[in-house]
């Protein structure tokens, strides 16, 4: 059972300061692709490193396959890790890089070649075996790192932002390869990233972290459509959700739900007079930035997102009727920032 579980996991680096990771409880499911998502400083990498055994927890337990592994060194945990920089051994050939874990684990020599070739074949780098890491492109290095990770047939994969060192164009294809890889191999994987697009595209479930605390765990659909607090609501989705603060609640609606009134389907909706300040033309969509007139939110910038096939005519300076469907509204308690039940509200 390759399930990773953490109970009350905490890491405090400096006495008296806030912890990097605070009381995290989570559990992976067998074979799933779990994403740790959060901005820098959210503790996601520290969390990953504790699971790997590279950092010692200040409090709490880590379980792999049902066993508490806190006391075990990384090599005894049956995990494999791919670092952000890939950490390939620069003086060894690709073949020897992949073979290194086998030698370290005292796998019989007779099996080395076969296993290395199997791992290399899985990632399509068979022809690169004699090269040195410095002769490889970024994408090829990622594949070598993955081959080295999988050759040990670990119970869990840990990936620390492996795509962030690649340039934008390469990132998309590398992402696709990773998803395909996971489908083929099926090992439980924990993936750390700050990129919410990656998280949504790749994750079976997403763990959203902020300042060392888990804000929400759920499928991409759940965290996007049902954010548990204002942080998750604004972190996922680009452009971010519009938030209006009242005395005791915060109401949010996503830009793609804030549309010209005649484009909003019938049913209960809230309408505003929307003055467009400026427009960003992005090809497949247009993003409007403007203000709601005649309310005490006039100074707050509200964003709307129109797809390319919606009518034009919403230029800078113009004023229109815009609406949001009541079912698209999200409510958060002002003080705790957490999701709360819909309530009547004074708009004007």
């Amino acid at each position: 059972m390759a399930v990773v579980e953490t109970r009350n996991l905490t890491k405090i680096f400096k006495q008296g300061e806030a912890g990097a990771v605070n009381d995290v409880n989570l559990a992976t499911r067998e074979g799933e692709f779990l994403v740790f998502l959060g901005p820098s400083g959210s503790g996601k990498t520290t969390l990953l490193r504790m699971i790997a055994g590279l950092e010692t927890p200040t409090a709490g337990e880590i379980l792999i396959g049902g066993r508490v592994v806190n006391q075990l060194s990384p090599r005894d945990r049956r995990i494999a890790m791919v670092f952000q920089s890939y950490a390939l051994y620069p003086h060894l050939s690709v073949y020897n890089n992949i073979c290194f874990p086998l030698k370290a684990q005292k796998v019989p020599r007779s099996q080395h070649r076969q296993k290395v070739e199997w791992a290399a074949g899985l990632l399509g780098i068979g022809r690169l075996l004699d090269r040195k890491p410095r002769e490889l492109s970024g994408g090829e290095r990622q594949r070598v790192a993955l081959a080295r990770a999988i050759v040990r047939e670990p119970a869990v994969f840990l990936l620390d932002e492996p795509l962030s060192n690649l340039d934008a164009k390469l990132r998309a294809s590398a992402r696709e390869e990773l998803e395909q890889f996971h489908k083929n191999v099926g090992t439980t994987t924990i993936y750390v990233t700050h990129d919410q697009v990656e998280a949504m595209a790749m994750g079976d479930r997403v763990v959203v972290l902020h300042q060392g605390v888990v804000r929400q765990i759920g499928t991409p659909k759940e965290v996007y459509e049902n954010p548990a607090d204002t942080f998750v609501a604004t972190f996922l989705g680009s452009p971010p959700m519009n938030l209006l603060e009242f005395s005791d609640i915060v109401v949010g609606f996503r830009p793609e739900g804030f549309l010209p009134s005649d484009l909003v389907p019938g049913g209960k909706q809230v309408s505003f007079r929307y003055r467009v300040k400026y427009v960003e033309y992005l090809g497949a969509e247009r993003v409007l930035y403007g203000n709601i007139e005649g309310s005490h939110f006039e100074s707050k910038e509200i964003i709307s997102r129109l797809s390319w096939n919606m009518p034009t005519g919403y230029e800078a300076g113009s004023v229109h009727d815009f609406s949001v469907s009541e079912s698209d509204l999200h409510f958060f308690d002002r003080r705790s920032e957490k999701r709360t039940n819909p309530r009547p509200y004074p708009w004007q």
């Binding site: 090599r75 950490a87 620069p90 080295r148």
Partner: protein, 304 residues
């Protein structure tokens, strides 16, 4: 009228070669005059009959070299120079690697320890060596006292650290090592701290224990730096005259004579500048070899 573009060349372009030459000219001139010229002069002297105070020089061909190569003292000096250098380098590299690994791990009091460890290197050569001269004195040596107290010897048959040929040689090598270990340690530390921390971590996750990671990953990655330490240690030992001069001045019975020390005693104390110059020229092949290896290390580092 054509518009003149204001040319803002980046600082990398040779905008003013004259300025550049003026700026590094004096330094280069100094080096040529005080290193290049004397070097050529040394070669010139080696083929002449120069003595201290002589006003006329005559060309004598290979005479100086012939008489040197026949001298048993010279043979001993060459042998010693090589033996001392190789021994010192081996000991220094091993000890400094161990010490660097020990210093890598952070611990309290690291700064003080680092200061103490560096003392042999930062203190002027001659002064540290004098300290050792007393520590190795035939009668008053600290080591003698310890050995006598432990009843290994009596005062009357205690070893003469600088008086018996083999012991003297060992003493000279030890003092060289003592001086060089701090230097080499610091260089090794720089090398090992240049290894990105994720690589030993990856090795740990891959299942590699401390020693496997050390020998198969860390040390191979430190090879350029280890080369630098080896080459500098070799140079400092091979071309050093101070330690031998102060400890033993080549004795007893020329057993610790080295090329630089022999050059000094022949050329300056003996007055025979030509012979002294000829002897010192035998340092050159080793220097050239070291320079070659240094360039190779630097070149390889660029390729990476």
């Amino acid at each position: 009228m054509a518009v003149k573009h204001a040319k803002v060349k980046s600082a990398g372009a040779a905008q003013s070669p004259l300025l550049g030459a003026a700026m590094f000219g004096p330094a280069v001139l100094y080096i040529v005059l005080l290193i290049g010229a004397p070097f050529l002069l040394a070669i010139f002297y080696a083929f002449s009959d120069a003595r201290i105070g002589s006003t006329h020089l005559h060309y004598v061909g290979l005479e100086n070299f012939r008489s040197i190569l026949h001298s048993p003292t010279f043979h001993q000096a060459v042998q010693n120079s090589i033996v001392f250098t190789v021994s010192a380098v081996v000991i220094v590299v091993i000890c400094s690697t161990i010490l660097a690994l020990a210093l890598e791990i952070p611990f309290r009091g690291r700064g003080i320890i680092r200061f103490l460890i560096l003392l042999p290197w930062v203190a002027p050569v001659s002064l540290g060596t004098i300290g050792w001269k007393w520590l190795l004195d035939s009668i008053y040596s600290v080591f003698t006292w310890i050995l006598v107290s432990l009843h290994f010897f009596t005062i009357y048959n205690a070893p003469m650290w600088l008086g018996q040929p083999h012991l003297a040689m060992a003493s000279v090598v030890c003092v060289h090592c003592w001086r060089l270990i701090p230097f080499a340690t610091v260089v090794m530390l720089a090398g090992s701290s240049a290894i990105p921390k994720e690589i030993p971590e990856a090795a740990g996750i891959d299942g590699s224990g401390y020693f496997r990671t050390l020998f198969w990953i860390k040390i191979p990655m430190m090879l350029p730096i280890i080369n630098v330490a080896i080459l500098f240690s070799a140079i400092f030992t091979f071309t050093d005259m101070t330690v031998v001069y102060i400890l033993t001045d080549g004795g007893p019975f020329d057993s610790t004579q080295t090329i630089p020390n022999l050059a000094f005693s022949t050329g300056i104390q003996g007055g025979d500048l030509a012979a002294g110059a000829a002897i010192s020229l035998f340092l050159v092949p080793v220097l050239v070899a070291v320079a070659y290896f240094m360039l190779r290390v630097a070149h390889r580092a660029e390729v990476v």
